[in-house]
Amino acid sequence: MDINATLIGQMITFALFVWFTMKFVWPPLEKALVARQQKIAEGLAAAERGQKELEVSQKYAIQHIHEARAKAKETLEHAQKQAAAIIDQAKAEAQQERLQIVSLAHAEIEQERLMVKAQLQQEVVGLAIKSTEKLLNRVMTAADHNTLLNLDTHFSASTES
């Protein structure tokens, strides 16, 4: 172990090496690492921001769905009401028409009945006259007269029975 001029040589070498590291090695490494740190921090911040935006838009979407549902329900109810109203109206109209038709038929029947009745009366009268003529060819008695007088009522009674 002897100390010699190597000591000075090593001191100079050491100084040069440190100077080189300080000038050419450390700063670029530091720059790259700081830049990466910043990039990572930015990335994390962006991710967080995205998460928040997602949450907000999810809330917004859910709200929209709820609104649409409510609106659809409302529309359906409205349509159902309208349909019911239309049906009710149709029903009322049909009923009215029915009544009208029925009353019309009644009137027609009545009219026909009256017509038939009148025809029958005429026929009865004709028959009566014919039978009276036949009877007149015979002797007209008081009884005949009475009979003739009462014939109409009697006949009608007899036809009715």
């Binding site: 090496f17 590291t21 090695v25 690492l33």
Partner: protein
């Protein structure tokens, strides 16, 4: 030691041979060429590799090599952040250089003890010490540089007045200033000495044991592996301690009482 391979090994000359530096005598003084060369080679490879990665460093997903460099970078930065609370652009690069460079030089310890001396002989060197951190010239060179940095920042942060106040008035108060100054000198000088000698001592002892194991014939394979595995721990811990203590000392220098 190739010349001894065939014949009987003389333990003392074998050990002596392995502990001898490849020296170059100049007018300025003697240089340990092996220490300088290997430390330069490792330091320059470290710097070039890190520079290569740093230049291509991307903020996007890093590749394998960049991941590795970033791992070391973040390890060093965490240590600096936890222990050093001032603002100084030098501390972190200094710590990185110390940690990686010392780690690489310590790693030379794991190369079988005869490989590099044999390579040295091809280069025409009669002696070659593989582990630069077993040379106190290197470890003390670094710790003395750190010592100068400590004094420089101590003066810079506290000012001449604050610096002198700290030297003369602590820990016993201004009345006992000679004792204070003496204590301060011992305290300050103990730091680089202990810092440099700790690293040197650990690695020197480790290397010596490797050399001893290498003389055990076939037994070296049984002994060498556990010692090498244990030594991996020492390599990491010693480089880490050197870095941590540098950070702590400089942090103390930055503290204004």
């Amino acid at each position: 030691m190739s010349e001894n391979m065939g014949g009987a090994i003389d333990p003392s000359s074998y050990i002596q041979h392995h502990l001898q530096h490849w020296e170059w005598n100049t007018r300025v003084g003697t240089f340990n060429v092996d220490t300088l060369l290997i430390s330069w080679l490792l330091g320059v490879s470290f710097l070039l590799l890190f520079r290569y990665v740093a230049k291509r460093a991307t903020m996007n997903t890093p590749s394998g090599l960049q991941n590795f460099v970033e791992m070391i970078y973040e390890f060093v930065q965490t240590q600096v952040k936890e222990s050093f609370h001032g603002r100084n652009a030098l501390i972190a690069p200094l710590s990185l250089t110390i940690f990686v460079w010392i780690f690489l030089m310590n790693c030379m310890d794991l190369i079988p003890v005869d490989v590099i001396p044999m390579l040295g002989q091809y280069l025409g060197a009669s002696h070659m010490k593989a582990v630069p951190t077993t040379d106190p010239n290197l470890t003390l060179g670094m710790s003395i540089s750190v010592f100068f940095l400590i004094q420089f920042y101590s003066l810079k942060i506290k000012g001449i007045k604050g610096f002198l106040k700290e030297v003369t008035c602590k820990p016993f108060g201004p009345l006992f200033f000679p004792a204070n100054i003496a204590l301060k000198i011992v305290e300050e000088l103990a730091r680089p000495v202990s810092l440099g000698l700790r690293l040197f001592g650990n690695l020197y002892a480790g290397e010596l044991i490797f050399i001893l194991i290498a003389m055990c014939g076939y037994g070296q394979f049984v002994l060498g592996l556990p010692w090498a595995i244990f030594h991996i721990l020492v390599i990491g811990i010693q480089s880490f301690i050197f870095m941590m203590l540098t950070i702590v000392y400089l942090s103390l220098a930055h503290e204004d009482h």
